[in-house]
């Protein structure tokens, strides 16, 4: 008999030793006795080799519940006739959310082995659920399959959620934490919405009927854009109303799209499968139903930027159009013509001045010629040569003897003066 390093039997020839056939003669020397350890290890190995014992669900009531400082949990599962020691190692104990206590009925999953020191066989637990959940879960699976076949969960039935719902319907318990979670989230994200709460029972035998009524009433009376169907966390049994066939059908038939937010992340109900969207929690459902305020403000800002940008472009465009028009206008304006004309006028004036000057020059030249001519014809020059001008008292020139009578007064002009005389003789 030998063990490998990890404590497992290398060969199991012990069976023969332990079960001597009665008809066999006892050997001369009885076989060597097994140590307690050897026997215990053998038994342990036997159990651990048994596939059935390595993965079982056991139903029982907790007693002697003890959480050791090391974090491991020790307890006894019992029913009216037997008891079973059980261990939950720390790493598994940390993951169990169910608050375990004496007297609680549970279903535990694990394997059977032996604690060698005490020679005690025990259940090493790796999973726990409340008693009855196994049966409920089987029922859940059967109902889910049937409703799926009937088409209640078909993807084609799913409708898109409104982007900005104006009216949000909430079907839930008016006193639950779920409602407050939803309202807080809506306040933060989308305070523009109008919220109508349709109160209903969310647990117990009457709950399914009440949920159906609330769904139908809110659709008929308020015509919300979207409906949140919610309930806080709980056991599978607590959430059972949301697995009811009537609730599933009411959700699928709701005129307004439905977001389900039932229980926690890990809880799935049939209403979730029938809903247009499934949220992990009531808060998650409120998030799913609404846009975020911050995103909306950013959206407005983006629109504003586009507005500004395009308005500036239009302005720039108009300005450059205007400049072009002003330029063209200037070319056809009277002002432009006047300026043109002024320039032409200047040219005329300049030409006129030149022409005038020319004429003056010509005239001046001609004038000096005439002056010389006049000089030569001056009668005073003739008088200096000894001639005289004779005129009568009335000023008329005397050109012949016949012009005068005897006794006429005459005026004789010489080069240096005048002489008065009287005609005494003629002829």
């Amino acid at each position: 008999m030998a063990f490998t390093a990890d404590g497992c039997l290398r060969r199991p020839p012990l069976k023969i030793c332990l079960k001597p056939k009665m008809d066999q003669q006892l050997p001369l020397f009885s076989p060597a006795a097994l140590t307690v350890s050897e026997l215990t290890r053998y038994l342990r190995q036997l159990m651990e080799d048994d596939k059935f014992l390595q993965d079982i669900w056991v139903y029982g009531e907790i007693s002697n519940f003890k959480r050791h400082t090391s974090g491991h949990i020790y307890l006894t599962l019992k029913d009216s006739e037997a008891s079973l020691r059980a261990v939950i190692w720390r790493n598994i104990a940390e993951r169990i959310k169910l608050p375990l206590q004496d007297g609680m009925a549970i279903e535990a999953r694990g394997y059977i082995s032996i604690y060698e020191r005490d020679g005690q066989y025990q259940l090493y637990i790796n999973m726990i659920r409340p008693a009855g959940e196994g049966r409920l879960f089987q029922e859940f699976l059967r109902l889910k399959e049937r409703l799926a076949v009937e088409g209640w969960f078909d993807l084609e039935r799913k409708r898109p959620l409104p982007q900005r719902p104006q009216k949000i319907g909430i079907v839930t318990s008016p006193t639950g934490a779920a409602l407050q979670d939803i309202l807080n989230t809506l306040r933060q994200r989308y305070p523009l919405a109008e919220v109508v709460v349709a109160p209903c029972l969310v647990q117990g035998l009457e709950a399914p009927e009440d949920i159906v009524r609330a769904l139908q009433d809110i659709n008929r009376l308020e015509k919300p854009d979207v409906i949140i169907l919610a309930r806080g966390g709980g056991s599978l049994e607590d959430l059972w109303a949301f697995n009811d066939e009537r609730v599933v059908q009411a959700v699928a038939n709701s005129p307004a799209p439905v977001i389900s937010g039932v229980g926690h992340e890990t809880d799935f109900t049939l209403a979730d499968f029938a809903a247009d969207q499934r949220a992990p929690t009531p808060t998650g459902a409120a998030v799913m139903a609404t846009p975020n305020k911050a995103e909306l403000i950013a959206e407005i800002q983006t629109l504003c930027n586009r507005l500004n940008h395009h308005f500036e472009m239009i302005l720039e465009n108009e300005t450059s159009n205007l400049k072009a028009v002003i330029h063209r206008l200037a070319r056809v304006s009277p002002l432009w013509k006047t300026q043109n004309e002024l320039q032409r006028l200047d040219q005329f004036v300049w030409r006129a001045e030149r022409a005038m000057q020319h004429q003056l020059d010509i005239r001046r030249a001609r004038w000096s010629g005439i002056e010389k001519q006049l000089q030569t014809l001056n009668p005073l020059d003739v008088l200096q040569r000894g001639f005289a001008i004779v005129s009568k008292s009335d000023g008329t020139l005397v050109r012949s003897c016949g012009d005068v009578e005897i006794h006429d007064e005459l005026n004789i002009r010489l080069s240096d003066g005048q002489i008065s005389a009287r005609v005494t003789q003629k002829g």
Binding site: Q166, L192, I297, L307, E318
Partner: protein, 75 residues
């Protein structure tokens, strides 16, 4: 597009946002006269401001669904 004359303060968020969106689109895609563009721009700015004010000042309106009337009538 013609500029709406409805008073901006009386518009719901949805209405204001939709109008703002269509104003931006029309400024971007349509040939608009300068006069119209200015009117659109001014209205767009009012609408954006209105939307933001609505969002920031809004208080979630909550009420409970009243039971159907026929129940009251019968009861």
């Amino acid at each position: 597009m013609p500029v709406s004359s409805a008073p901006v303060e009386q518009l719901s968020y949805e209405q204001a946002f939709a109008e703002l969106e269509s104003i931006v689109t029309s400024l971007e895609t349509e040939q608009t006269s300068l006069e119209d563009a200015i009117a659109l721009f001014e209205r767009g700015q009012l609408l954006a401001k209105h939307c933001q004010t609505l969002l920031e000042n809004a208080e979630l309106r909550i009420r409970q669904l009243s039971r159907p009337e026929e129940e009251d009538a019968e009861g």
